[in-house]
Amino acid sequence: MKFENAAQAKQNERVLTILKDLLFQLADDELTLGHRDSEWLGLCPDIEGDVAFSSIAQDEVGHAVFFFDLLHELGEEDPDSLAFNRSSKARRNGVLLERGNGDWAYSVARHYFYDLFEDLRLQAIADSSYLPLAHGAAKIRREEVYHLMHMHLWFTRLGKAGGEAKERLEKAVQSIWPELGGLLSFGLHEQELLKHGIISFDTHELRRRWTSRMKAAFSEAGLMWPGEIPEPRMDGRKGEHSEELDELLSTMTEVYRMDPAANW
């Protein structure tokens, strides 16, 4: 069954619940990573890199706005309230994305892992039974493909360079790996999402595709494959988060909290 618009989706309470949970994952991932990306402003290894990272940050936040808009149509609060006025427990982003930026190697590796995941997740919703989501996914994927190319190049070149760059990249991969499983997931309701055709494949398939493509990049970069993707200790898809998310939110909402009712 297709849901052509918000009104149709709202008629099925269960569909509404699981759809919103997925949309929060999408929106929160994009907003959290976009925010972290924007923290690189003025600090990148060269000025060209700075301009590029800012474009990516803007794309991510722009995508978050799109998903928050869909949530608003489904009866949630306005997008600004959703972005600025929800506790960390209500957030559904992967814990990996809320971590501080670390060094350039960490930021590049994390972003590349995310971009490949995002590409596959967008494929999974490309034929979504919720049509507004399917339409948005097609548009967003056109932008994300450039992020993927950009980060693939950075990742493999840092590896190929050897020396300090490769060492830092290996270290980054090591610290990311335990938290990867919390990102590469559709959350608690994936079987129902699948049943209602909101997504077209599950986490197992997503990880299979991710692994197959990522292994090729690891080999190109000259890196050892770290092995199976472990289950995370903290699952952001269930609202479990680190203190780093609280710090991020405290910064992000500093002005907003002065007066949430004011027009800014």
Binding site: H35, S38, E39, L41, G42, L43, C44, P45, D46, I47, E48, D50, V51, S54, S55, A57, Q58, V61, G62, A64, V65, F68, P79, D80, A83, F84, W104, R157, L158, K160, A161, G162, G163, E164, A165, R168, T251, M252, T253, E254, V255, Y256, M258, D259, A262, N263, W264
Partner: protein, 313 residues
């Protein structure tokens, strides 16, 4: 052709209003003046990202977040465009991009006084967009007529983007000016803080020897005071119209002389800030630039190595 004849022909071109290209012969003095001006301009764009950087992660709505990210990205982009113009000019002197960037934290190049100052509140971020960028547009628009063609071309793009920044700042300001008492107070405080810096921004009233030489070569065509008067013409009525008080009891328009009378900024204090990097945020921001550049030398070196590795395959 003797040096004198070459110089005379060059000056004839300048006086005819012709533009000079990077590959044309130019007197050393002309080259040095351009490098000094454009290098400072480039570095000011880059250092200008730091006061706003503090507010990018704190923008209070999604729309503002997107806008301020794009705005500060533009500033970095302007820095990049200008550095490339400066790099071409400096190449015959053996200077590279690395040198031009290092000059910032080795105190070998100055940057505009406004970027040494603090941005304490969200209203400061608005005032920077509205009035600092507003002042910059006036400066840069006057430079569009510059005799150096590559600089003129880059400035054309910069001015177009800066006018969006000014509107972006104005939009933030208007929301605050029409907002709560607390928002209005925050805005007035920001204006009080920035006003003197804004007047200083245009430089000393008297035409300095270096400025005189730039006028001679038509690198610039207007004096500091002409530009400051233009700024006052444009912005004083706008500032008044949104109910703000300008922190200068002596500010008035002299109808007879057709010019603004104002209390002069503390030339000595701001002069020291720019010359010796003694502003409230100078050291901290230079340190950010040093960390970004020195701390990530390994990335730039890795990129050179991996390019060679790929080429060798």
């Amino acid at each position: 052709m003797t040096e004198d004849v070459r110089y005379a022909r060059f000056m004839e071109r300048i006086e005819r209003g012709e533009k000079i290209e990077a590959t044309d012969w130019m007197p050393d003095e002309y080259r040095h003046l351009l490098i000094k001006l454009i290098h400072m301009h480039a570095v000011s764009e880059i250092m200008g990202a730091y006061p706003e950087k503090e507010w990018v992660p704190k923008a209070p709505t999604l729309r503002r977040k997107l806008a301020i990210m794009a705005k500060v990205q533009d500033e970095m982009g302007h820095g990049q465009l200008l550095l490339r113009v400066a790099e071409d000019l400096a190449a015959p002197l053996g200077k590279t991009r690395e040198d031009l960037v290092e000059d910032v934290y080795k105190s070998r190049v100055k940057f505009h006084n406004v970027f040494h100052m603090e941005a304490k509140t969200w209203a400061d971020a608005g005032v920077i967009g509205w009035l600092v960028d507003g002042a910059a547009i006036i400066n840069q628009a006057a430079l569009l007529e510059t005799s150096y063609a590559p600089y003129a071309r880059v400035l054309k793009r910069i001015c177009a983007e800066e006018s969006f920044h000014m509107q972006h700042g104005e939009n933030i300001i208007l929301a605050l000016a029409m907002g709560t008492e607390e928002q209005k107070q925050m805005l007035q405080d920001a204006l009080n803080y920035w006003w003197e810096s804004l007047l200083f921004f245009f430089g000393p009233k008297e035409v300095t020897p270096a400025a005189e030489r730039m006028l001679h070569y038509r690198i610039r065509t207007k004096t500091n005071e002409e530009l400051r008067q233009k700024f006052l013409d444009k912005y004083v009525p706008r500032i008044w119209s949104i109910g703000l008080t300008i922190p200068d009891p002596h500010l008035r328009y002299d109808e007879e002389k057709k010019e603004w009378v104002y209390t002069e900024p503390d030339w000595e204090k701001f002069g020291r800030i720019v010359r010796y990097n003694e502003g409230p945020k100078s050291k901290e921001r230079m340190e950010l630039r040093r960390t970004a550049h020195e701390g990530q030398r390994w990335v730039r070196e890795a990129m050179i190595r991996s390019r060679m590795a790929t080429a060798a395959v």
